[in-house]
């Protein structure tokens, strides 16, 4: 899975551009699982269903924008970048919904006419697992990543969740490899600062 030599990948992309359904099936089979795993890492609160939903959106975006892929990096690198952006959008949307943006009001007095029971809406408070130490740390990392800012969030996610090398990051982000190194270092510094700010309540 995933390990394709550039020539084969280029051929596959070319066939996909011609609209060959079989080529697209091959592409999905090659990259769907990797993309799903990458997406799942991006947030501690993502479920498999969330990952699948985001993955679906990612591949729809790939289908629409394949012509924008010019082969300057590996296809998977390009795919992960799209996935990172889609995951961020998904999280923002869900956060907005939690804040009441698109919440559907549920009457607590209303009873199900079939069962005669009142609805039991989920509580907004953390569950028992998240109350554990590891879970708190994970949530802290995720929260810090959300606050670190767009350029840093992207490069950190691609580097540590997507396992991209400096060269791949350089190609994907169209940056000099040295620039990638220095930017990553600065972003990690900033992330640490944010985590330290959180460390008052959550020791790192």
């Amino acid at each position: 899975m995933g390990a394709m030599i550039p020539a084969e990948e280029s051929d596959l992309i070319t066939r996909c551009r011609r609209g060959e359904a079989n080529a697209w099936d091959d592409l999905f089979d090659l990259h769907y699982a990797a993309a799903g795993r990458f997406i799942f890492q991006l947030a501690s609160d993502f479920t498999r269903e969330d990952a699948e939903e985001i993955c679906q959106e990612v591949f729809l975006s790939v289908i629409k924008n394949l012509n924008a892929f010019h082969g300057e990096s590996r296809f998977q690198t390009w795919l992960f970048r799209i996935a990172a952006n889609q995951a961020r959008d998904y999280r923002e949307k869900r956060t907005a919904a939690k804040r009441g943006g698109i919440q559907t009001p549920v009457s607590l007095q209303a009873e199900d006419p079939a069962t005669g029971l009142a609805p039991d809406p989920p509580a907004g408070t953390p569950g028992p697992d998240e109350l554990l130490m590891n879970a708190e740390q994970m949530a802290g990392v995720r929260a810090a990543l959300d606050r670190v800012g767009e350029p840093c969030r992207e490069i950190i996610e691609l580097r540590y969740f997507g396992d991209l090398s400096y060269e791949e990051l350089s190609a994907t982000l169209k940056l000099n490899p040295k620039t990638v190194s220095s930017r990553l270092s600065k972003c990690l510094d900033r992330l640490e600062e944010i985590m330290r700010g959180k460390a008052q309540s959550f020791p790192v």
């Binding site: 996909c16 551009r17 011609r18 609209g19 359904a21 697209w24 099936d25 999905f28 089979d29 769907y32 699982a33 993309a35 799903g36 795993r37 799942f40 890492q41 501690s44 498999r48 990952a51 699948e52 993955c55 679906q56 591949f59 729809l60 289908i63 629409k64 590891n134 740390q137 994970m138 990392v141 995720r142 950190i156 540590y160 969740f161 990690l188 992330l191 640490e192 985590m195 790192v204």
Partner: protein, 442 residues
């Protein structure tokens, strides 16, 4: 290599934990795969359309500069045409109108000259004047390229009113038609006025046809003309003038013993008639002055026949002509004397009109029945003159020579038809004119 930082370890641990939490690798659900493949198909279709558009854009980009020059050139030409073409067309129409008027004037002069040389009788068709005064090109309307429509065939010029139409252009322009009148004027006549003039002509013609038909109906086929009371003896020229028939139809012309219609078939050899189904071949039926032409498709055109040498016959009789009813011998002498005069003129003008069944249009066919040179001249001439002499001689034909005259008259008419050719013009629905040059079919 730099040692891994604490934050990096935390991030990797986070990733490792999440990977472990993820469990089995995600698999693309068939329903989701179908959705993705549908999107692929949509994109492929859109891409195909885009490629066509892109090709056009590429071509436009490649040939943009030449295209701009070409478009500018086309626009310039278009503007030039838009400006100058109406003016050119106007000038062209004006020139054609003047040329048509000139041609009609030439035709007017030629026909008048012809009439002057032929006892004031206008030519049966324009073809008769082309060799003398007018070239064939002059008979063509410059606007349409068709022949002028000639409707004055066989008419007597001095009997026509000045506003009678002799010929006109087949082109019905906005400002009207160019028309040649009997007095030689050429004018552009508006459509309504032209319709009035031509309807008047048609009415006159129709009345003439009705008159002929009425006479044919009223006259039993077996009834010899001798039953008609002979006109009184003509003593003077005044008497002769009084006895002169008013119209082109004269019952006196009906030959004694013309008990049945004589008929003969003709074939039109004129090139211009080959494109129309009218009068390509036809049958002529004659009963005295009455004449009917039966076209190949069964269309029947009725009309009348009259000698073009009527003026000569209307002249006062010579001094030795008998004042009273002449005996047969004297009549024969008169006939012979008149026959000597008539040998030089043997044309008989006719005009028939009717509806053509095939075209569902009115046809007016006028022309001359020209005796063939090969025909037995003495018999033909004598017999026809015999007929006329009956009129000119004051009805002397009622004597004992009738039996001989009847037989001779029948023979003469048959001989006339079988040894004559018909030259004339057929006007179809006012505008279309064809030449007729028909010979008997043996």
């Amino acid at each position: 290599m730099e040692p891994e930082r604490k934050i990096e370890k935390l991030l990797r641990a986070f990733a490792k934990k999440r990977r472990a939490d993820a469990g089995d690798p995600l698999k693309l659900h068939p329903a989701n795969r179908r959705i993705l493949q549908d999107e692929v198909a949509r994109q492929a279709k859109a891409t195909g359309e885009d490629n066509e558009g892109n090709l056009l854009l590429l071509l436009l980009a490649l040939f943009r500069r030449p295209l701009v020059f070409v478009l500018c050139g086309v626009a310039a030409v278009f503007i030039g045409v838009a400006i100058f073409l109406p003016a050119l067309n106007t000038s062209k129409r004006y020139v054609q109108k003047i040329a048509a008027a000139d041609n009609l004037k030439e035709i007017g002069i030629a026909t008048r000259q012809f009439a002057k040389n032929n006892n004031d009788v206008l030519p049966a068709s324009l073809g008769e004047v082309t060799n003398r005064l007018v070239m064939k090109e002059d008979l063509i309307d410059p606007v349409t390229g068709k022949l002028f429509v000639y409707v004055g065939g066989g008419k007597k010029l001095d009997e026509l009113q000045s506003n009678v139409v002799l010929a006109y252009s087949p082109a019905d322009r906005k400002d009207g038609r160019t028309v040649l009148f009997a007095d030689g004027r050429v004018q552009t006549v508006p459509g309504e006025r032209f319709a009035e003039l031509t309807n008047q002509k048609s009415t006159e013609l129709a009345l003439a046809d009705q008159s002929v038909r009425a006479r044919l109906v009223n006259m039993p086929a077996s009834e010899p003309t001798t039953a008609v009371a002979p006109p009184p003896a003509l003593q003077t020229a005044d008497d002769f003038e009084k006895a002169k028939p008013n119209g082109s139809v004269s019952l006196d012309f009906v030959q004694a013993g013309a008990t049945a219609n004589l008929q003969y078939s003709f074939r039109n050899d004129a090139v211009s008639a080959r494109t129309t189904p009218v009068l390509q071949s036809f049958q002529v039926q004659q009963n005295g002055h009455a004449i009917s032409v039966v076209d190949r498709d069964g269309s029947v055109y009725h009309g009348s026949l009259q000698p073009t040498n009527a003026m000569a016959l209307n002249e006062p009789p010579p001094a030795e002509a008998p004042a009273t009813a002449a005996p047969p011998q004297s009549q024969t002498k008169v006939a012979q004397a008149a026959g000597n005069e008539q040998q030089t003129v043997q044309n008989y003008f006719f005009r028939v009109a009717g509806m053509n069944r095939t075209l569902k249009q009115n046809v007016v066919f006028s022309g001359n029945l020209l005796a063939n040179n090969a025909a037995p001249q003495p018999t033909q001439t004598t017999n026809f003159i015999g007929g006329f002499s009956g009129m000119a001689g004051g009805g002397g034909g009622g004597g004992g020579g009738n039996q001989f005259q009847q037989a001779a008259a029948n023979q003469s008419q048959q001989s006339l038809l079988s040894n004559s050719r018909i030259v004339g013009t057929a006007v179809i629905a006012i505008t279309n004119q064809i030449e007729i040059n028909a010979v008997p079919v043996q």
